[in-house]
């Protein structure tokens, strides 16, 4: 699977612990549901400890939008918590409509980067 390929399967478990970074067997992955912007609708399970979203090839999730920086926003998992950090993007990261530099994320949060909108699902059914 390429870095930019969407994850269309319902996320459950990845067998490679080096990829999933501490997930317990059977634990479900938090998922970004892209509801707007190029390529939407699609889903990106956040399997790795760190996932960078941007328009550049250095990003783990690449979305071809001129409104995204090459490395726009970082999603980081630490234990049960999920957070985001704006990687000094040109157009910012908006959490539920508020321009955020960093934040802890929760179920149903809306994250907008450029013309791309995600809805976070902490543990999809």
């Amino acid at each position: 699977m390429s870095k930019s390929e969407p994850f269309d399967l319902e996320p459950t478990v990845a067998g490679d612990v080096s990829v999933v970074g501490g997930l317990a067997l059977g634990e479900k992955l938090p998922t970004l549901e892209q509801v707007r912007g190029p390529g939407a609708p699609r889903r990106f399970p956040l399997a790795a400890v760190e996932t960078v979203v941007g328009r550049g090839q250095q990003a783990h999730v690449t979305i071809e939008s001129a409104l995204l920086s090459r490395r726009h926003v970082l999603f980081r998992r630490h234990g049960p918590e999920l957070s985001l950090v704006d990687l000094d993007s040109a157009n910012g990261v908006f959490l539920n409509g508020v321009k955020a530099h960093a934040a802890l994320l929760h179920e149903g949060d809306t994250i907008q980067v450029g013309d791309v909108v995600f809805v976070l699902h902490e543990a999809p059914a």
Partner: protein, 293 residues
């Protein structure tokens, strides 16, 4: 372009810590807000959120660390994190505590660490802790200019305005704004009318990039809580609008409010601002959210 200011919410709850699934999103720790730049580490209030901030500071910056702590007042929910603030235990650190009011801030911090309440005595804290008094006149704190103003709260409380490089952050929690209204009669007759606050208070918040303000109650709750020292969200929205505030974070969430109730409070404040044709963005302060200015 000046160095950026970062504002992070470590505790947003009012009155008492409120952990649990109902408050997960906005958080259950009591008041603590960090304001920092490349040169400065400023902390507003030492509620239970201060504990987590202390742990983060240990990771983020090598000692010696210099920190400045501004208390709105000394009620429990604003000081309970202090005994658990790990940087206060390290001898290489310096902590300056600002006292705009009674002159008793250090005494009161010591009081909650008496052996009746806590096993470690204040005087056994390792860091160099000094108290600095200042009044409403602007005071230089590292690269920030700081002013304070008295608020309406039982036992007194103080708000602070922090300015750096043309940016302005105002921290104004625990203030019963409705007791200060200059058009109370008019707004009691017509609740939709803009509630006007005194010009001195409006001037303190004027043009702020961010106003962090106690908006504990809904309109329905406030009549039963008159005199308790807290604001209803709708009056905070009116103050922010009058001051031309760019963003207003409703803070000091009621311990009885679930995340969904806080959402409703914010929606009502936004609707009120829209009705007044305001460009102010109001949102709910939530733990872990960091803004950059």
């Amino acid at each position: 372009m000046s160095a950026p200011i970062f504002v992070r919410f470590w505790g947003t709850r009012g009155s008492i810590p409120t952990p649990g699934h109902k408050t997960r999103r906005y958080g259950g720790n009591t008041s603590c807000v960090e304001i920092h730049s490349a040169e400065s580490e400023l902390v507003c209030d030492g509620g239970t959120g201060l504990r987590e901030l202390g742990l983060e500071l240990l990771q983020r910056k090598q000692p010696p660390r210099s920190m400045h702590l501004f208390f709105s007042h000394m009620h429990w929910d604003h000081i309970q994190g202090f005994p658990f603030f790990v940087p206060a235990y390290a001898p290489e650190n310096e902590l300056t505590v600002y006292d705009p009011g009674s002159g008793r801030v250090e005494e009161l911090l010591q009081g909650q660490m008496r052996s009746d309440y806590f096993p470690v005595n204040f005087n056994d804290l390792g860091a160099k802790i000094r108290t600095r008094h200042f009044d409403a006149q602007a005071t230089r704190v590292d690269d920030f200019e700081v002013r304070c103003f008295e608020q309406a709260h039982p036992g007194r409380s103080f708000g602070y305005a922090f300015e750096l490089g043309g940016k302005k952050i105002v921290y104004a929690t625990d203030s019963e704004l409705d007791r200060l209204l200059v058009n109370r009669d008019e707004t009691e007759r017509d609740p939709e009318k803009l509630r006007r606050l005194p010009s001195e208070l409006v001037a303190f918040v004027a043009g702020a990039d961010l106003l962090i303000a106690d908006g504990q109650y809904t309109d329905a709750e406030y009549p039963k809580k008159v005199g308790w020292g807290h604001a209803r969200a709708s009056t905070v929205a009116d103050l922010a609008h009058q001051g031309g505030v760019k963003q207003c974070a409703l803070f000091h969430h009621d311990p009885l409010h679930s995340d969904e109730l806080v959402d409703q409070k914010i929606a009502a404040a936004r609707a009120r601002l829209a009705a007044h044709g305001s460009s102010t963005l109001v949102f709910g302060a939530r733990e872990g959210l960091e803004l950059k200015f």
